[in-house]
């Protein structure tokens, strides 16, 4: 093992500057303090020592000191359970306000020992306990409740462990620089969509959605009567709307300016979110016109997310 000293030195070296992630839990980053059970354990040991001195118990000294040595070594084990882990931020999916935002953190363990019973904490929010296998990786998630639209920035989090005996608590405070985009909560229930307007002639020539029958969904007010599945209606079932695949559904423009002036900013945003979702479900291309700019109609989920993102970041007045 001629390379040991070099490797040893590099282990305790700071992570290379610039590339902040993966974030290595170096010696400087890991803090360790006894827990309350740890203090109780220490008190027990002191009492045991006094008893041994009083009754001159040679064997008692042996066991007391053995436990003492063991307890001190636990500190090293607890530190080892956390040290040299590499943390990387995961991908945060946007959520609608009210749903919990999941902040995933990837943990890599380059060492030869598994890391057992760790947890991420941020204030009252805690992840489940998890293990990181030897030379493996694990992803832990912190689920934050979201209350309002906008950007939810993950504060500094703490990764913590008390393994193996719970006598010491080792932790490290890390900033994963994660943020979640919180979309406005869509207005509940079906709403009316604006009428499709003329767009690309080439797409429109066959008329909207007449091609392949794809399935049924609940009827929303505003659906074309030509798409209502009258046959199910005749069987005394609730109104259903036929859906067609391959249909482009035309282009729908959602315009901030054309919305009812009685609605407040947040209500408008929530309504727009609902309309965007519904239009997406119909397979229509939706354009969004906001005071800040506009998104020309396009199909596909990415466009939808872009539009919802714009709603999430709409400046509050």
């Amino acid at each position: 093992m001629a390379t040991t000293p070099m490797a040893w030195r590099s282990r305790f070296a700071q992570p290379p500057p610039g590339g902040q992630f993966p974030l290595v839990l170096t010696q400087r980053r890991v803090y360790i303090l006894p827990t309350r059970p740890g203090l109780l354990f220490a008190a027990t040991l002191v009492t045991m020592l006094l008893g041994c001195i009083n009754y001159n118990l040679g064997l008692g000294f042996v066991l007391t000191f053995l436990l003492g040595g063991c307890g001190v070594l636990t500190m090293l084990h607890t530190y080892r359970n956390l040290a040299q882990l590499r943390l990387r931020p995961g991908q945060v999916e946007p959520v609608f306000a009210g749903d919990p935002a999941q902040f995933p953190v990837h943990l890599d363990n380059p060492g030869q020992i598994p890391r057992l019973s760790l947890r991420l904490e941020c204030g009252a929010v805690r992840s489940a306990w998890f293990d990181v296998p030897a030379a493996g990786q694990q992803t832990a998630c912190l689920a934050f409740p979201t209350l309002q639209r906008g950007v939810l920035v993950l504060p500094r989090i703490r990764v913590r462990t008390t393994f193996p005996l719970g006598l010491f608590n080792a932790w490290s405070n890390v900033d994963m620089e994660l943020q979640a985009l919180v979309y406005p909560r869509p207005t509940p229930g079906p709403v009316e969509l604006p009428q499709p307007v003329g767009g690309n002639g080439g797409v429109r020539q066959h008329g909207p959605g007449q091609e392949d029958f794809a399935g049924l969904r609940d009827y929303h007010p505003g659906d074309s009567l030509r798409h209502v599945a009258w046959r199910t209606e005749a069987r005394d079932q609730p109104l259903m709307t036929k859906q067609f695949s391959g249909q482009s559904g035309g282009e729908i423009w959602l315009d901030w300016a054309e919305m009812s002036p009685r609605l407040g900013t947040e209500e408008r945003l929530r309504l727009l979110a609902r309309q965007l979702l519904d239009a997406q479900a119909l397979g229509a291309s939706v354009g969004l016109r906001l005071p800040q700019g506009e998104f020309s109609p396009k199909p596909g989920p990415e466009h939808l997310h872009r539009c919802l993102g714009a709603l999430a970041l709409f400046p509050a007045h």
């Binding site: 027990t44 009083n54 001159n56 040679g58 019973s117 005996l165």
Partner: protein
């Protein structure tokens, strides 16, 4: 906090309950019955609740139970709140806490109490088997602690035990340093430890027919001796103990009033130096070879050369002492002592008195009387046996003229009686004779079976002279030990009989282990610590140097352990080929051609060859070999070609000698 306070898995609770039950089990023998029953009930209830998944009893029920237990202790033990009462209280509280246990925090409290109870077991027994049992239980408790902390349940019971064992094993060096060097003080800190056990065997201050032959059946160790000077012959090993002056016709008693006046003695011959480790026997006597010379501090030397400790010996003690091998003493004995050494009870043993008068009339000289009595023992049909027949009121008469069978106390008693009746001052000395050399530990074991009684007579011009009438009857007893002297049929302990060699050597080994255990674990006292420090070169250690020594040693031990423990944080070493490649890259990097982190071997070789043209060939060869091993098709039989190629790569890389650096142009 919800998860932290979360319920323990039932398996952990069961394991905890079982471990604590096992710890409490040895206490059953000295706890009051109701205490044991209550503990058993608590443990049983806990097991049932866990098994059924039911909640613990309410807080008030537990408080009521705790109060009831405390009341029971107060009534049961009364004002004598000592060791037993504390243990009982601890056991009951542990049972109650276990009943309440739901979370891992409760479990930690239980485990700490469990550790404490393990220690309390040592109040009653500190033998090696006890220690082994308790060590196992300690590992078990620690493993339970581990599994309580293993929140994801990733570890099986076996892995938990292994981790606990590893932890304790790693704690061993720390324990050793602390055990040996942690400043020891002589207890007690509070109260007085109660008498260990009053039923210990050993010599007492009285001797009646059968009292020593009873001891002869006991295998227990009286003391062990390490000789610093050459060991004297077994025949001269008379370990002097209680000296008995007063005879009531049946029983000899030690003198009520002891003269402590220093006595004059003349020493001849070399002195014998040795260390005695005395087992506790609840009496004050210490034993030494006739005649003790240097008396340890705090030990009283009486006028009749008994060694007395200040307190009854309740714990194993160790003392250094030396003796004269040849001596003369008591030439000028006080007159009242001589009078006392002639006193006999009136109206008893008339035939013995007659015999003594007759002998005196015939011989005149005291020395000749002594010889005549010894000759009588030798020539008449006297038997030496462990099972002498019982004696009546005139015990000496019956022994001398009727039964003629006896153990050493019979002979000593009869001899001294005859001497006193003949007007020669005499007394009985009890103690041990001989001993057994343990070749394993190179020390002498003296057992209770070696207990012996002999006589001393006072002769004008010679002082007190030792006379052993047993030696006259059975010289083998003195020369070769008791096993040679008593008949085969007599119930001697196994360890004394010599004919079972294998068993004996096993017994010797075991005794050596037990002796080391006693010396180093149980009897490791402040004195012993000072001795050790002295041997380590610290002549007069004070607290400061001791603290520095302990702290320094502990930190270096912890440093070494930290290195071992944290070493495994490093990634596992890759396969040998990869290691060799890394070494090669490191060599070239030192030569001025470092490999870029994502550079492939062939690209790197080309670039390095350009930078270090003098080594182009070697670099190409090594790279090709490496590529062949790592990336190429290993062919149909990879096991055969592979090691050879790895060795070739190793050789190539070893022979690569990069220059000081790249040629700067």
């Amino acid at each position: 906090m919800s998860q932290e306070r979360g319920r323990l898995r039932p398996g952990i609770l069961h394991s905890l309950t079982a471990a604590l039950g096992a710890i409490l089990l040895p206490h059953v023998t000295h706890l009051p019955l109701w205490c044991s029953a209550a503990c058993a009930a608590f443990l049983g209830l806990r097991t049932m609740l866990t098994w059924r998944g039911q909640a613990s009893p309410g807080r008030w029920t537990l408080v009521a139970l705790a109060l009831a237990c405390a009341l029971g202790i107060a009534l049961g033990f009364g004002a004598a709140f000592g060791r037993d009462a504390s243990v009982a209280l601890l056991a009951l509280m542990l049972g109650l806490k276990l009943l309440e246990t739901q979370s891992s925090r409760d479990a930690t409290v239980c485990i700490c109490l469990g550790y404490f109870l393990i220690i309390t077991n040592f109040l009653y027994s500190q033998t090696i088997p006890t220690a082994a049992c308790m060590l196992v239980l300690m590992i078990w408790l620690t493993a339970t602690m581990v599994s309580a902390q293993d929140r994801t349940g990733a570890l099986g019971p076996k892995q938990c035990l292994r981790l606990a064992g590893t932890l304790l094993l790693q704690g061993l060096p720390v324990m050793l340093v602390l055990f040996l060097l942690f400043p020891r003080i002589n207890g007690p800190l509070w109260g007085f430890p109660q008498a260990n056990n009053s039923s210990l065997t050993g010599l007492s201050d009285r001797m009646s027919p059968g009292s020593i032959s009873n001891l002869g059946r006991s295998d227990a160790v009286a003391f062990r001796v390490e000789f610093q000077s050459p060991m004297p012959s077994p025949a001269s090993l008379y370990w002097r103990g209680p000296v008995l002056w007063d005879f009531d016709g049946r029983t000899w008693n030690a003198a009520a009033m002891l003269s402590t006046a220093p006595m004059q003695h003349t020493a001849k011959g070399p002195s014998i130096n040795y260390t005695v480790t005395l087992e506790p026997h609840s009496q004050r006597w210490l034993f030494a070879i006739d005649l003790p010379r240097n008396v340890p501090d705090g030990v009283l030397l009486t006028g009749d050369y008994q060694l007395l400790a200040e307190q009854p010996v309740r714990a194993r003690i160790r003392y250094d002492i030396s003796s004269h091998s040849s001596y003369q003493y008591g030439l000028e004995e006080a007159p009242q002592a001589l009078v006392r050494a002639l006193r006999l009870p009136e109206g008893l043993n008339p035939r013995a008195r007659e015999l003594a008068q007759a002998l005196l009339a015939a011989q005149r000289q005291p020395q000749a009387v002594v010889n005549e009595v010894l000759r009588m023992f030798r020539t008449q049909l006297f038997y030496y046996t462990l099972e002498p027949p019982p004696l009546g009121r005139h015990s000496v008469d019956e022994f001398l003229f009727r039964t003629k069978r006896g153990f050493c106390e019979h002979y000593a008693s009869a001899f001294v009686f005859l001497m006193r009746a003949a007007g020669i001052p005499a007394r009985v000395v009890t103690g041990y004779q001989g001993g057994e050399l343990n070749p394993v530990g190179d020390y002498l074991i003296v057992r209770q079976s070696e207990a012996h009684a002999w006589a001393e007579v006072w002769l004008r011009g010679q002082g007190w002279v030792r006379v052993d009438p047993t030696a006259a009857v059975s010289p083998a007893r003195i020369q070769r030990g008791i096993a040679a002297a008593v008949p085969e049929a007599d119930p001697l302990p196994l360890s004394v009989r010599g004919n079972l060699e294998a068993l004996r050597s096993l017994a010797f080994t075991w005794d050596a282990v037990a002796n080391a255990w006693n010396q180093w674990v149980l009897g490791y006292s402040p004195d012993r610590q000072m001795e050790l420090l002295h041997d380590l070169g610290l002549a007069h250690p004070n607290w400061r140097t001791l603290v520095i020594l302990v702290v320094g040693l502990i930190s270096s031990v912890l440093g070494a352990l930290a290195f071992v423990i944290l070493l495994r944080l490093r990634p596992a070493p890759g396969d040998p080929v990869e290691q060799l490649w890394k070494r090669f890259c490191a060599k070239l990097a030192r030569a001025g051609a470092p490999r870029r982190i994502s550079e492939g071997p062939q690209d790197f070789a080309q670039r390095a060859a350009k930078r270090l043209p003098s080594m182009g060939k070697e670099i190409a060869a090594i790279t090709q070999c490496y590529i062949g091993l790592r990336y190429a098709d290993p062919g149909p039989r990879p096991q055969e070609a592979h090691p050879k190629e790895v060795r070739r790569l190793q050789a190539l890389i070893r022979h690569l000698r990069p220059g000081r650096g790249p040629p700067r142009t």
